[in-house]
Amino acid sequence: MARLRITRIWQCLLGALLPLTAHADYAWNFPKPVTPMALDTLQVHNKFMIIVMVIFVVVLGIMIYSIVMHRKSRDYQPAGFTGPSTRSQLFWTLVPFAILLYIDFILMGIPAFHSVVAMEDTRTDADMVIKVTGSQWRWQYEYLDGPAKGISFVSNMTTPQEQINNQAAKNPEYLLEVDNPLVLPTDKKVRVLLTSSDVIHNWWIPAFGAARDAIPGFLRETWVKIEEPGTFRGQCKELCGKGHGFMPAVVIAKNEQDFNAWATSKKAELQAAAAGADKEWTKEDLIANGKGIYDKNCAVCHQVGGQGLPPAFPALTGSKIATGPILDKDNKMVKDGHLDRVMNGKGVMPAWKGILNDTEIASVITYERNALGNSVGDMLQPAQVKAMR
């Protein structure tokens, strides 16, 4: 009877656990490496893990033997030694330390030396240079040479807020999806320069084995040489404020031909966008355009409805700045006015002039003044923004 009950309990337990294992996606080690550095890191890691596990098991074995054998309940009489007493004992005492010395500085130390030197050598045979700028909470990418020279864009997470708030089903790439992924060629050594516009971030793609801080006011560098095409996902891994968990980095690796084709079409796209700055926009178009930009860039802090999260993130609805004058009578930018704050930032508010183009800034400002419960009625043309740069 009791046995039957136990079997039933087991069946219930298994039943409860099965769905968990059915769609479980357990990963026990680093993701599959696609760069020489990631491969090196994985090999170093595996080797070290085996070494420390052997040490652990041997020492644990000795302890378990002692715990089982040397106990009072077995009437084991305690020894009285307090240290090695003979020369041969002293010798055997020193052996473990000789082994450890060998493991530390030869077995682990020498491969570690070569890995460090390889990891830090960003310049030898570098084929191209890109610049990665972290800001709260997005990445900005710039191509400094090669066929894509001059391309620059911002990469934002695209996971909708409803999914984060559990009001909608989550995408498979939940939190790891962006609007503009970084595109890199395969089999090229890419030197990655990193900096930041506000606090410290860390650009990390696990499959590349590269992680480096992006530090405001300084350049740091690392390198990647991606050996197979594909999409690779990572996240910021230095605490950078409330959006830290929502700052993915996505890289698409293409072969050289596809990369060049992408560069050409991306350049054309960016040029078309820049041309928009010179045409005259209607207020309605600016407001419509501005909503998308606001929701993607500003709503994280100022909220979708403009109510903000005071006191850290002020409301835009009824705000003095968002309803005050933009330009003074000489057509100069009002200091601490709406345009000044958006373009140059202050405190926690980032400077957007390096991130958004003229059309985007004009649109978002027009949107903020005529939506979110505000109805100032005026508008700002992209050409006016361009003139203030």
Binding site: F48, D104, K242
Partner: protein
């Protein structure tokens, strides 16, 4: 060693009763009790915070809290556990046991001692007050930068950062005063005949801790003061636009932060051999080797700090230096492990609760140490750094190596301090539940880190769901289990089987020659040690 002891039962000096007794007391036992009580309370407070965090991480998506509040909880959890739970527990033991172990009538500087304790409650209030203030619309909550205060994030933060800076100042002053007191006591108040090389290992561990605190706390105090002036008085120590450097803060912080790890652990390394020796009924193995190793670790601990931020970017020679010096710490640590295991080897062991905790402590702390060795490798560290792998690693060193060690000490000395035996069955249950749920909490986190989950994120990608769920369930068990600990301590204080003077069959040392509980004043005439 043999002791000649004279235990005085002479009438106590009058001392006030009630609240005033505790406010004005200069008695080392009273102050030790206050430290330990404070530590237990803050341990539960810090634990409650992390329970909320684990509840949020139970599933992907934001269920319970905003990311801002999440960031506040993780940072204050760490500050509370380090500064208000672990450090005061070690200081509490020092107050209670050092004078008893070295045959001194009290600590050398009793008034300083009282002040040192009474700085702690205000500091704890400063640290947690911003949570309450935010409820009334003042400020935006507690410090949200993690416990490391990294600039420029901390320059950007709200009033919580200022509160935390002043809390750290108070805690620092308290620690430095406690350290001065301990050094003076050990150097000047030892019983005649107790040479430095006859000092109990607990005293040695604390002596080195005290020197480390005096060496590094001022650096931390300086760093957070520079942060304060950057925030409010227009300086640019950590702002590149004004000629400063954000990484300077990391260097200053970790010059304190790395020795801090050993500050938390050295006192535990001191009394664990005493527990092992007691329950193995066999003298401590390699006393001298342990003393020299403790000293070597103390010295090494102040020259390895930059391994906490390898990914910030450093010249290759600096990377290599910090890598190899970090690996070098494994050598004296291996000596200690060797001596601990040799102490139980061929002993006659029994497994009362303190011994269970001490043995579990060796194994689990071993995992923390070995993963630390792997983390020292700069190239692999690029992957481990700031992932859950690191979170699991430092919980093996600080929860297993720190708090479980403290628990061993509590069960070991509680009968001496209260005069009653605790409930042995409950104690053993507490050990097994703690050890099992601790491992189930943190082993999944090693794998989460390897798979690429960054730490300090309030929400995570779907591939991390299963391990996080396991970790959360185990963490709730671990948290609830600690209620057993509190219950066992409280019921032991209130009553129970009378403890003998010796308490344990194999106990050895001056404190076990005194009655349980010891009278208010002990060793009015110093014992002579031959």
């Amino acid at each position: 060693m043999s002791y000649s002891t004279t235990v005085d039962h002479e009438e106590h000096h009058d001392h006030p009763s009630g609240m005033l007794r505790w406010l004005t007391t200069t008695n080392h036992k009273d102050i030790g009790t206050m430290y330990l009580t404070f530590s237990l309370i803050m341990f539960m407070v810090g634990g409650a915070m992390i329970m909320a965090v684990r509840a949020e991480l139970f599933q992907p998506g934001l269920q319970l809290m905003h990311p801002e509040f999440y960031n506040q909880l993780i940072g204050v959890h760490a500050l509370v556990m380090i500064f208000a739970a672990l450090m005061p527990a070690a200081t509490g033991f020092a107050n209670w046991m050092l004078p008893l172990q070295i045959g001194a009538p009290d600590m050398a500087l009793p008034r300083l001692n009282n002040w040192g304790f009474w700085l702690l409650p205000p500091a704890a209030i400063l640290l947690t007050l911003p949570f309450t203030l935010a409820l009334f619309g003042i400020g935006d909550g507690a410090i949200a930068t993690g416990w490391t205060f990294y600039a420029p994030l901390s320059v950007q933060g709200g009033i919580g950062v200022d509160f935390a800076i002043f809390a750290v100042h108070l805690l620092g002053i308290s620690s430095v005063m406690g350290s001065i007191n301990i050094i003076v006591t050990i150097f000047n108040m030892r019983a005649p005949g107790m040479t430095l090389m006859k000092l109990p290992l607990f005293a040695w561990g604390w002596l080195i801790t005290a020197f480390l605190l005096i060496a590094t706390i001022p650096v931390l105090a300086g760093a957070v003061t520079m942060l304060l002036t950057d925030r409010h008085f227009g300086t640019h120590f950590f702002d590149a636009a004004g000629g400063g450097d954000p990484i300077l803060f990391q260097h200053l912080f970790w010059f304190f932060g790395h020795p801090e790890v050993y500050i938390l652990l050295l006192p535990v390394w001191g009394f664990i051999p005493q527990i092992l020796s007691t329950f193995a009924r066999k003298p401590i193995y390699g006393y001298k080797a342990q003393v020299y190793s403790l000293c070597a670790i103390g010295v090494l601990s102040v020259v390895v700090w930059a391994h906490h931020f390898f990914t910030a970017g450093m010249p290759v020679p600096a990377l290599l230096y910090f890598m190899y010096s970090t690996m070098a710490i494994s050598l004296p640590l291996a000596v200690l492990f060797y001596c601990w295991i040799a102490t139980i080897w061929r002993g006659s062991m029994t497994f009362e609760t303190p011994m269970l905790f001490a043995i579990g402590w060796i194994i689990l702390f071993g995992i923390g140490g070995l993963t630390g060795l792997v983390l020292a490798d700069v190239a692999a560290d690029a992957q481990y750094h700031h992932t859950y792998f690191v979170v699991a690693h430092f919980h093996y060193t600080l929860f297993a190596g720190g708090i479980m060690g403290i628990m061993a000490g509590v069960y070991y000395w509680l009968p001496k301090m209260t005069g009653h035996m605790y409930n042995e069955k409950l104690g053993k249950l507490h050990f097994w539940l703690t050890a099992i749920s601790f491992n189930l909490t943190f082993i999944p986190q090693f794998f989460l880190g390897l798979a690429g989950m960054p730490r300090r994120i309030p929400d995570y990608a779907l591939q991390f769901s299963e391990f996080n769920m396991i970790s959360s369930i185990a963490a709730f068990t671990l948290g609830l289990t600690q209620l057993l600990f509190v219950y066992n301590i409280v019921s032991c204080v209130r009553g129970g089987k009378k403890a003998t003077d010796k308490v344990w069959e194999g106990s050895n040392g001056l404190e076990w020659t005194l009655p349980s509980p010891p009278p208010y004043h002990t060793f009015n005439e110093q014992p002579v040690i031959r």
